[in-house]
Structure formats: C-alpha cells, structure tokens
Amino acid sequence: MIELKNVTKEYDLPPGQPGQLVAADRLTLDVPDGEIFGLVGPNGAGKSTTLKMICGLLLPTAGHITVNGVDVETKPEAAQQHIGYLADFFSVYDELKVWEYVDYFARAYKLPADKIPARVREVIGQMGLDTKYDANVAGLSRGMKQRLGIARAIVHDPPLLVLDEPASGLDPKARLELKDLLRAMNRAGKTIFITSHVLPDLEEICTSLAILEKGKLLRHGKIADVMRSAGQTRRVHIRLASPEFALESWLSTHPNVSEVLHGPAGTEFIFPGTDADLAALIREAILAGAAIYSVEEKTDSLEELFARLSTGEVM
C-alpha cells in the first residue's frame, strides 16, 4: 500500500546551531495492504514529517513515495484519493454544523452528488455522532471533534488511513473507543498507518511497526520479528502449589538457565532455549517433585524494547 524508497527530508536547525536536521534519513519501507502499521519514536524523530510526506503535504528532499502504486510527488491528487488523513491537532471549522462539515469534505473528495447525503449520514452514524448531526461543531467535546476528524478522513472510503497521534488528548474511555474503531476499520479492509506516543496502545492494535529515531529507521517489520531481532530474551515465571520443593536451587544447576530470582510470587529465570526445550525443562522439574501450579512466559513490552533501542543497548 505504501512504499518509501530512500526518502530523505532535511531541515535547517534553528539559527545558532550548526548543521542540518535530518527528519528522515533514507527511509525505505514497505507497508502491505491490510496492516495496522505503527510508527513509533520520540518527539522530533521525524514521524509527523514522514506522514506528511506520505500524504503529499511535504516534498521529500530526495527519494520516492508511492501510495497504492501512485507516485505521490508527480500525481498528488490521484494518490490523495487513496488516503484519509488525520493530523495530530484538533482542527475543524467551528462555524459549521456537524453534517455541513462532513458534507464539505464529501464534496471536496468528489463523491457523486446523489450519494453524498446518505454517505454523510452513514459516516456520522459510524462515528456515533448521530445525535449531534445538526449541532454546531464549536459545541462538540474534544473526543467528539476527534471522531468528527475521523469521519472526515473516511468519508470518501479510502483504502489507507494515515493517522498522526490520533489518541493524543483523549480520555481513557475515548481511547478505548478509538482502538475498537481502528480494529473495526482494519477488519473492513483498511490499511492503517498510525503514529502514537502511547506505545502500549500501539502494541495492542498494530500488526507491524517501525521504530524511528533522529530520522533513522532502527527496526521495522512484524511486531514479533522486531522483538526477536532485538535479541529479546525469554523470561519464565513459575509458581508452585506447595513451597516444599527448592525450585531455585534445582534451576541453578540447570545449564540453560540463568538469572534465577526467587520471590513470594514465584520463581523467575531467563531461558534462551526453544519452546520444546522449555517443555522438557518443565517435565524434568515435575518429575523431580516440583508441584507446578503455573508457568508464564514474560516478554519485553514495546516500551522496554524502544527504551533499549533508543539508548543504544541494542543495535
């Protein structure tokens, strides 16, 4: 759906600071159809710039971007027909009514005139704004305005949604609703390209992700692949039904086990072996007399992985 080839964007640093800011440094990325693709990175990493370049709002200093096979630079309007864009700021026309706002964009995206009223009503209903159909935009809450923004982005039924920090400023309930909405749209066949600071949210809904820092792509791919490529270790947590068996001492003698920690909630250790190796280890422990109540595998969260990548702990 989206293809970036050696995309570079350079800016001047503010006067007084030497050199240039590279907001995107030869980014090469391929986002397949049907993905929910997350772009993560700290402030100033180049996320919004990348999104704007995908939408044709900014021209890259070098490189090429195609959306659904259409070159964004040479045929921006054709490419934009495939894109629904939501920026990281709440900006709507306060002087319009809710239906007028959506109607404006339906017309601007050149939907057939006879289908516009029905589509406007459908999209407003989809966003749960039916009761506000004839209300002034100025009177909507922040969450409602965000939903109105999404209504605007999907009114022309684009196959790709490009969302820049869509959850920022939303309360927890509105965030949950947004996640459900994005999942539903993805199930309906839309590809979603999303940035967010809230990494657990992204981890929950994304199928793939890319990690960006100082314009450089640190990792990208399926979430599991990204985690594995970062050399993620398997941490196993075992709880016993009765404390008689000295699991900590037994594990310490095992050659594949390291960093054994014992606490009131159970025993935790690092085990780099495969799933089959782990199953064999559990079987051995049971045969040795351990009354195992539960076995849990703990993985690094996206936040932890991001922290490790950005500090250079993992390259």
Binding site: E10, R26, L57, L96, A108, L218, H220
Partner: protein, 515 residues
C-alpha cells in the same frame, strides 16, 4: 461556482440565515429612511448637479470600499487563517484541483461583502431613477466594480498564500496600501500612459457619466497630414491603444481580467504545494508576464511629452515589475537542497550555480528591447534620441538589477532567520546611506562628479544623457564594468554556499528491515 465545495462552505459559514436576515433588515431600514428623507428635500434630484447623481457616486464609492477593501481583507485572511487553524492541510489533501480551491476561495471568502453590496442595490436603483440616469451606466459601473474588486481579491489571496505566521497585520496593511496605490496611480501615470483607471473606485465615475464618448473610426492620434499629433488631449473615458481611440470600459474589463488570470495562475500553481517549495511562476511564465506587462505599457504609452522622461518612466515601472518577478524566482535553501539531492552533488549545473542571473538577464533584456523597439518606432521624431545611449542605459539598468537580485539570492541561501527580509533590509540601508553620503558631498549637483553615483545608485536611468557621457565617459564606463564585477563576485560567493549545502548530511546507511 455554485457547486464548488469551498464556495458552498463559505456561504454556509458566512451567510447563516440569522446573520443574513439581520443585515437585510438593517439595510432596508437605513435605505427607507434615506430614500424618504431625500424625497422630501427641496433640491432637485435630476441632472449632473442633482442629489440623485451625488448619491449614485457616493453609493458606488462606498460599495467599492466594501467590496474591494473589505473583500480584500477577507481574502488576506482566507488562506492565512486556514494555515493558522491547521485546517489548510485537510483542504490540500482533498481531490479539489488547485484551480477549484483557488476559485472557491476567490469568490467564497468575500461572499458577505458581495451580499452587503447587494443590499445597496435598491438605493442605487432609487438614486438612478430619481436622477434620471440611464441604467446602462449603472450596469457599466457594476461591471467595473466587480471586475476591479475580483482583481484586488485575487491579489489579496496571493498575499494570503505567501503570508507567514506573525506577518498577518503587515499583509492586511500591504493590501490596503496596494489598493490605495491602485486607485491613485493612474492619476500619476496619465502623463505617460493613455490609459484610464483600472481600479474598482472608477465605478463611481462611470456611474455618473451621461454620454458614451465618441469612438469614430478616424484616428485622432494622427493629424490630417498623417503625422502624429502628440498634443491631442485624451477624451474622457477613452484610451489610446497604439494611437487608436477606444472606449475605456472594455479596455478596463479586459486588462483587469487578464491580470486576474495571472493571479489565478500563481494561486493554482502553489495553493496545494509544500509551502517550502512555493514558486509563484515557472521561469517561462515569469518571462511571459514581464513581456505581457511591457506590451500593455507600450500599447498605451504616450511618447509625446518628453521622450527621455517616458523612457525613464518605463524603466522605473520595469524595475518594480522585474524586481517583483525576480524575487518570486529566488530559491530558498529547501528548494536548493532538493535540486542538489536530485541532481547529485557532482552534477550541479552552471544555471543552478549562477541562478537567477541567466534568467533575469534574458527576461530583463526582453523587456528592455521592447522599450527600445517602442522608442524606435513610436517616438516623437522631433525629440532628441540616440539609439546607442538608449541601449547603454538599458544595459546599465539590467546589470544593476542583476547585482541586487544576485545579492538577495546569495542572502537567501545563507542560514539565518528570514534571510530574504534581512537581505532587503541591508539593501535598503545601503541605498539610504549611499544617497545621504553622495548628497552631502553635493555629487548630484555637480555635473562633473555626478557619474560617480552610478557606482552605487541606478542614476543612469535618469541622469545619463549625451552631455553627461561626454563629460566623463571613463567614469560611466567604469561604473558599468564595476556592476558586472560585483555580479561575478556575488555568484562566486553563492557558489561557495551551494557547495556547502551540497555536503551529505549523514554518512551512516539506514538499518535494514528486521524481517
């Protein structure tokens, strides 16, 4: 236009039923009171001295003020406000073509001002009926009002597009000053141009006209002996196109419409572009605009008064035009970076390294050659004129223009906050200082020392004639050569800045995908 989404949005936002009805009711009450009061005064309404004509003139002047000034301010706000509210990007990603978006804003942004003018029409009709004025003049006045205002709106929209955060007030003041100049400049140029006012305020003049001027087939520019009659006065409401008398109304409509077209071209080229990559016109279009403006000037120029003055006046207008077009062609660091990264560091062309000198040289040469050709074929044969001096003056103007534009381009490629503004400021300070110092030494008063001014100021346009040349040919020549040397030095400095910009920003390759 009625199906243009941007126009519909503006109508919905600005003409809410409550607001529109309130405006209509207030206008109706005011007009009723005014009409009732006027019907009961003893003075006559009819004729040139009647109150009907005075009211008609006043009403059109007020309508011009509302539509041109009020609409102009609305247009200045149109794009700037969208950028400020962060809604402009959403318009840019729609399927609206750039021209549709521009037209929607051009007619949509001032829609309330159009509505206000519409509210005045009952009183205009009342004044015309009471004053026994023919409705053809009222319709003509409305044509002038609307076409002239659209031109102001198109220009204001262009200003709005180029306005950056923090300069909104300056933009509004600029458009009001431009409107004031536009409305008054034709009084000044009437000495050189056989062309009446193109301003929307001219509608108040045409509304009180009582007869259409004669446009007989006979060319009143020529005497019965076939010689040019340079002292023939210009009849009211007429222009002279290459000496042929024309009604001013169609001339105004056509010229205004053509300039609206040029403004729309710039808007359509840029309205959906990345703001860092704005380029008002392509080099070819800029060349075309310079030629078009000079064609209009030459078509209506009045060569009879004082030939040297006419040439100086045309060059002065050209300096303004070519400076504006030159500024529009300057490249910022972002654009230059893109050119460098696209072409590759080793393949920077000589045109890019010397930009805008080659382009401006060709464009200003074309403009100057048009003036030269105009002077050769239509000048007063009795006036003193030397082709060699004319060419030398024109070349002096060209190199002087190149020097300043090359300086501004070099400044614009250097790092800094608002480098172009700083460049213009430095130039202004330089000219002010040069003028003060030269004046205080009395250089302008002494014919022997006057050629030295040509090193610093564009004095050859006004002061270089045969007598001045004979006095100090070496100084005039040295000043001319010095300008070229300065251009070369500035190009050299610019080359250094470009090569510095061409340095790669990152040596490390991006990491490969995880999968």
């Amino acid at each position: 236009m009625l199906t243009n989404p941007e126009f519909i949005r503006n109508v919905r936002a600005q003409l809410r039923p409550g607001k529109a009805v309130t405006t209509l009711v207030i206008a109706a009450v005011l007009e009723f009171v005014a009409g009732f009061g006027l019907l009961h005064i003893t003075a006559s309404a009819a004729g040139l001295t009647g109150w009907g004509f005075a009211l008609l003139r006043g009403l059109f002047w007020i309508q011009a003020l509302i539509l041109a000034a009020g609409g102009g301010i609305a247009c200045v706000n149109a794009i700037y406000k969208e950028k400020d509210q962060n809604t402009f990007d959403y318009q840019r990603v729609t399927r609206l073509s750039p021209l549709e978006l521009a037209l929607g804003k051009l007619f949509g942004a001032p829609v309330y001002m159009y509505f206000l003018c519409l509210c005045f029409t009952p009183l205009v009709i009342f004044a015309a009926v009471e004053g026994h004025q023919s409705f053809s003049f009222v319709l003509a006045a409305y044509a002038v009002l609307i076409v002239g205002s659209i031109l102001v709106h198109a220009f204001a929209l262009l200003i709005s597009l180029l306005t950056v955060r923090g300069s909104h007030t300056t933009a509004i003041i600029s458009i009001l000053v431009a409107l004031w100049l536009f409305s008054n400049v034709f009084t000044i140029t009437s000495r050189y141009l056989y062309l009446g006012s193109l301003s929307p305020f001219y509608s108040s003049e045409i509304a009180v006209q009582t007869t259409w001027p004669s446009t007989s087939a006979e060319d009143d520019f020529l005497t019965s002996q076939g010689r040019r009659n340079f002292d023939a006065p210009l009849a009211p409401a007429t222009d002279r196109l290459f000496g042929h008398r024309l009604l001013h109304l169609p001339v105004l409509v056509i010229i205004d419409a053509l300039f609206i077209g040029w403004c729309l071209l710039a808007l359509a080229r840029n309205i959906k572009r990345d703001p860092n990559q704005y380029e008002l016109y392509s080099p070819l279009q800029t060349f075309g605009l310079a030629v078009f403006i000079n064609f209009v000037l030459l078509a209506f120029v009045n060569w009879h008064a004082n030939f040297i003055d006419v040439q100086a006046a045309l060059l002065t207008i050209n300096i303004l035009v070519l400076s504006a077009l030159g500024l529009a062609q300057l490249r910022n660091r972002d654009r230059m970076r893109r050119i460098l990264r696209t072409q590759g560091q080793t393949a920077i062309s000589w045109i890019d390294l010397t930009w805008p000198t080659p382009f401006l040289f060709v464009t200003s040469l074309a403009a100057c050659l048009m003036i030269f050709a105009g002077a050769t074929y239509t000048r007063n044969p009795l006036a003193e004129w030397s082709p060699a001096f004319a060419i030398f003056r024109l070349l002096f103007v060209i190199v002087w223009l190149l020097r300043d534009m090359q300086f501004l381009q070099w400044m614009m490629l250097r790092r800094g906050k608002r480098p172009l503004v700083m460049g213009v400021l430095y130039l202004s300070v330089f000219y002010a200082c040069a003028w003060i110092v030269l004046s205080s030494f009395g250089v302008f008063r002494d014919a022997d020392r006057m050629p030295f001014t040509a090193f610093f100021l564009p004095t050859p346009i006004y002061l270089l004639d045969h007598a001045a040349w004979v006095l100090r040919p070496a100084i005039w020549g040295s000043a001319f050569v010095a300008q070229w040397v300065l251009v070369a030095l500035l190009i050299y400095a610019q080359r250094g800045t470009i090569l510095e910009l061409a340095q790669p920003t990152s040596a490390e390759p991006a990491l490969e995908a995880a999968s």
